[in-house]
């Protein structure tokens, strides 16, 4: 209890110093927004239409299956008519060819309707769509998952309509034959013709078409959030070294404050600042820059918090590794400025060549920006960013481990 209270007071003290420090406030809160506004205007309107994702769809069903009607409905007929950010959907007739193309690395991936699609749909079994994608083609995979999710949920809605109709008919005393005929009629209505085309397309806009790629903020803001949360934390490292040098940590220690409380207090102080930053980033991002938080706001929140946790641990680790205030300062600036562009904070990482994307995975930044991009640009769901969440956790654990192990209250 006493330890917690002391840690709390230490954190509050650091926060008080931060709030009174105009330069620090400017640097960690106002400055990032100047960057965002600048880069937003630089990148907005840059040829996003050319970067449209192309999605391939195949079916193994015999002709006449429901999948034929569905694909016909969602297939892109007129590229000119697409909204910005909508994917191009191509109907490939040869499943085997697409499969081989993925294996050969010639195609990033495709969505397939299995041969038993109509059958299992009608028998009430779950309708598994199959996604074949190259392990490295994360963006395509995420988009295909979005598309399959859209189709599945639409189908589920349609099946529900059919079931409800059949039940109504049964209650009104219709014979099995009459019901059978009616259901077939509804099926045809739902899965084909103009009505179907319309409903699937509209779905596409809501879910897959969530890709408002023309809004550069969708990747500019998370990029700078990652960079500045990390940078603001890292630049706390020289402050910690300063406390070690000017004997205040030693003074705390002799005032019966435990090492854990000192560590916890310093850590929470940095994390508080990070929390303030991410709250401001998202509030402004959503209200002013109209970013799209995608299908999983929860994932966005978790990723943002993990950025704060990981960066705070990094700052303390940096302070324990540095022997002087100047050393800590340089380390903070160098790591912040090196890791940010490498980790896709300045330019979207998905535009990097694959070898660079692979190298960038050594930075926590890359995992974070990659996850934000998937969620906010490519319509991915929570499950798609779990690897990033785990990666950030691992970074946080490693940094915290070194920080706790090496933390000292005095250099003397």
């Amino acid at each position: 209890m006493k330890n917690l209270k002391q840690a709390w007071y230490i954190a509050l003290k650091d926060l008080k110093i931060f709030v009174q420090d105009r330069a620090a406030l400017f640097f960690s809160i106002i400055f990032p927004f100047l960057f965002i506004i600048l880069f937003n205007s630089l990148f907005s309107g840059v040829g996003w239409e050319d970067d449209r994702i192309t999605l391939h769809v195949t079916t193994q069903e015999p002709e006449g299956g429901i999948s034929y009607q569905i694909i016909a409905a969602i297939e892109t007929k007129d590229e000119e008519a697409l909204s910005p950010g909508d994917p191009i959907i191509i109907w490939d007739k040869d499943y085997e060819a697409d499969h081989q193309a993925v294996l050969d690395g010639k195609l990033d991936g495709f969505l397939n309707f299995p041969a038993s699609f109509t059958q299992s749909l009608m028998s009430g079994a779950s309708t598994g769509l199959e996604i074949y994608a190259d392990a490295g083609a994360t963006n395509t995979r995420a988009a295909l998952q979005g598309l399959s999710g859209a189709i599945t949920s639409q189908i589920n809605a349609d099946v529900a309509i059919i079931k409800a109709s059949a039940q109504l008919l049964a209650q009104s005393g219709a014979s099995p034959e009459e019901i059978q005929t009616a259901v077939q009629q509804i099926q045809t209505d739902l899965f084909s013709g103009a009505a179907a085309a319309k409903s699937y397309l509209s779905f596409e806009v809501v879910k897959v078409g969530n890709v408002e790629a023309q809004n550069a903020s969708n990747w500019v803001i998370p990029g700078y959030l990652v960079m500045f949360v990390f940078m603001a934390a890292a630049t706390s490292a020289p402050e910690i070294v300063k406390e070690r040098k000017n004997n205040t940590l030693e003074r705390l220690f002799s005032t019966s404050v435990k090492r854990e409380s000192i560590l916890g207090g310093i850590y929470s102080g940095i994390a508080f600042k990070g929390l303030i930053q991410i709250i401001i980033f998202w509030v402004f991002g959503i209200l002013v820059f109209h970013v799209n938080v995608g299908l999983s706001p929860l994932a966005i929140i978790i990723l943002s918090l993990l950025m704060v946790i990981m960066s705070s641990a990094f700052a303390i680790m940096l302070a324990t590794l540095a022997n002087s205030i100047r050393g800590a300062s340089s380390l903070a600036v160098i790591t912040s400025l090196l890791l940010a562009p490498l980790g896709g904070c300045w330019w979207p990482g998905f535009l990097y060549p694959e070898w660079l994307q692979n190298i960038s995975k050594i930075t926590p930044h890359a995992w974070a920006t990659d996850a934000f991009n998937k969620l906010m640009v490519f319509g991915a769901d929570f499950g798609d960013v779990v690897p990033s969440i785990i990666a950030l956790l691992v970074f946080a654990v490693i940094f915290s481990g070194i920080a706790v192990w090496k933390f000292r209250i005095s250099d003397r």
């Binding site: 110093i17 420090d21 002799s254």
Partner: protein
């Protein structure tokens, strides 16, 4: 002695192969102001850092208020207040914020911390500068706050490591008066300095330290008496006599 508040036995501390403290033993009675005198590098600060639990001794025993520093550092820390030789303050906070903060750290709650901070600021004659940032204080003012912080939380034993360096004579007199007043309330003090006249004025007993060892320990009067008429001799002369060197060399 039964009422010895501090007992130090055969303390040793080396940095690499340099012996900074080399077999130091002394006791401080409850309510005593005990002086540790010595030139630069004698080992005074190192001794204080070991007594105040921030530096581990290589060997030897320290007992404070009945608690062993080695076995029960936690209990010792609740008894002590440290005024370190180097300033240990948050430059970006006000004097009051500094004192309230360290008050909280030593277990004072809300208003009690604030009240005691104001009381100690008044003691140092700085109450009208309470809200000023430490960074804007003069050197001597910072030193007075450094000392005032050590008083937060009502310690039973005060370590004052050269608290008067850079302080003007008037403030110094004021600090001496305060220490004497606190002593009357039962406070025990370990005072280091290389101003011999300070020790003469303030301390009931002094230990003269040189090269990590205590080379003499007695009342100022007795130490002076050994080498000449006490009223004509200074502790400065004592040191010169003991080491063949002047204190400030």
């Amino acid at each position: 002695m039964a009422d010895d508040f501090v007992v130090v036995k055969d303390l040793h501390k080396s940095f690499k192969d340099f012996k900074a403290v080399n077999g130091v033993s002394f006791t401080i009675a409850k309510g005593e102001v005990f002086g540790l005198l010595g030139p630069n590098g004698a080992g005074k600060t190192t001794t204080i850092r070991m007594l105040s639990t921030v530096l581990e001794a290589d060997s030897g025993d320290i007992t404070i208020g009945g608690y062993s520093v080695k076995k029960n550092a936690e209990a010792v820390r609740t008894l002590i207040g440290v005024c370190p030789q180097e300033l240990a303050l948050y430059e970006d906070l006000s004097a009051l914020d500094n004192m309230v903060f360290f008050g909280h750290m030593s277990g004072l709650e809300g208003k009690a911390a604030h009240d005691q901070a104001m009381k100690n600021l008044k003691l140092m004659g700085l109450e009208d500068r309470a809200k000023g940032k430490i960074a804007k204080y003069s050197g001597g003012m910072k030193r007075r706050i450094n000392l005032a912080v050590a008083l937060m939380g009502n310690p039973k034993l005060l370590f004052l490591d050269e608290p008067t360096v850079g302080i003007d004579p008037q403030s110094r007199n004021n600090i001496f008066e305060n220490i004497k007043a606190l002593q009357k309330q039962g406070l025990t003090v370990l005072y280091t300095t290389h101003y011999m006249e300070e020790a003469d004025r303030l301390c009931q007993r002094v230990a003269v330290m040189d090269g990590g060892k205590i080379i003499a320990m007695d009342t100022p009067y007795n130490l002076k008496k050994k080498i000449g008429p006490p009223d004509k001799t200074t502790l400065e002369d004592v040191f010169l006599n003991l080491t063949g060197r002047s204190l400030r060399d």
